[in-house]
Symmetry: C2
Subunit: 206 residues, 2 copies
């Protein structure tokens, strides 16, 4: 059996999109989905999607449709998405504050269990069910609580230092919203989301 | 000469990252950059990056380094990033409000010139230099002002309707932050940013 870490990045990316789509269908009470719909959700051709699914052992996939709940369950297991992952959020500016209460994270198995900011003022002012700490305690808290993921929403100039501290404290994955490219050791799984670059990518193709 | 719309998506994506990196270097007062650094910023090999640059007419690129300002200028022209684009922001929840004042958009040639929400209460409460309207006036305002881009930060259930209205009003590009897949005609350039999916993509590879 293939494990998620042996799949190609592109396959994982498409299957994660399919998984998200299945989750949305389930919430809407839809019980069956066609492979054509799944291919559209994954942004892939029907053939590519079918190959992706067969790689994780989902076969017998026909145009007639597939049961949403069981396909979601199977994909979740193959992609290691069935258990809750803990995350540390660093930076509580406007974006960070929005992420702190982003309900879709907790609804989907990602729990922010600690948040950090450099401003004591902000730490005292923000009301949240999440524990908030001064950023100088980042390594200590993330290490003690064995937090698995880091979400970075600090300004560009502090992003690399925060990344280094998260890595040293033992996180295995980083989602970086700061507008700079941060560097991580190869063992760390790392995704950058740069809103401005996404707009540039759109504008360049308009 | 190759125009941006004739470049492959992957090339545009990498060159947009290079452009963003050059912009960051310029802000830090760095005057020269090596091709190795640029390749790292683009997440590409040295060879791929050199090919990308040669496609847009940048040649004579050596390991010795390249002047930041002139390379940024050249790339900006090739990628059509030198003039300001107008954008409409739809949805003023926590994320939308954070985007409304996201300084990096305006610093980088993207100007939100109108924002929309369905809650009159919210429209009256939010203080911003951007004009804010009820969402029922979306098509009218976006059309009249010939706004070029739509940024969607509404809940999933309204995302497709908002997309349809933006397209009908004449935008050429859409950045979708809602957690659903929206459908657009092929002529519309469209990027989805789904935070939860990015975390899934990380978790599946951890």
């Amino acid at each position: 059996m293939t494990t998620a870490t042996e799949l190609s990045e592109k396959t994982i990316e498409r299957l994660c999109r399919v998984y998200g789509y299945l989750d949305a269908l389930r919430h809407r009470g839809v019980e069956s989905v066609t492979s054509k719909e799944l291919a559209a959700a994954a942004g892939a051709t029907h053939d590519t999607l079918r190959k992706d699914l067969s790689v994780v052992g989902v076969t017998g996939f026909t145009r007639a449709g597939y049961p949403v709940a069981s396909l979601k369950q199977t994909l979740g297991e193959k992609l290691n998405l069935t258990r809750t992952r803990t995350a540390a959020l660093v930076g509580l500016g406007r974006l960070g504050t929005a992420l702190l209460d982003y309900a879709r994270f907790s609804e989907n198995g990602f729990k922010i269990t600690a948040a950090f900011d450099s401003s004591i003022n902000k730490i005292e002012r923000i009301r949240s069910s999440v524990d908030i700490f001064p950023v100088r305690r980042l390594k200590e808290i993330v290490g003690e609580r064995r937090i698995e993921l880091g979400i970075i929403a600090v300004p560009g100039e502090s992003a690399q230092q925060v990344t280094d501290d998260l890595v040293e404290a033992g996180v295995a994955g980083i989602l970086n919203f700061s507008p700079v490219v941060v560097h991580t050791p190869a063992r760390i799984v790392h995704v950058d989301i740069d809103f401005t670059n996404s707009l540039r990518f759109i504008a360049a193709r308009m």
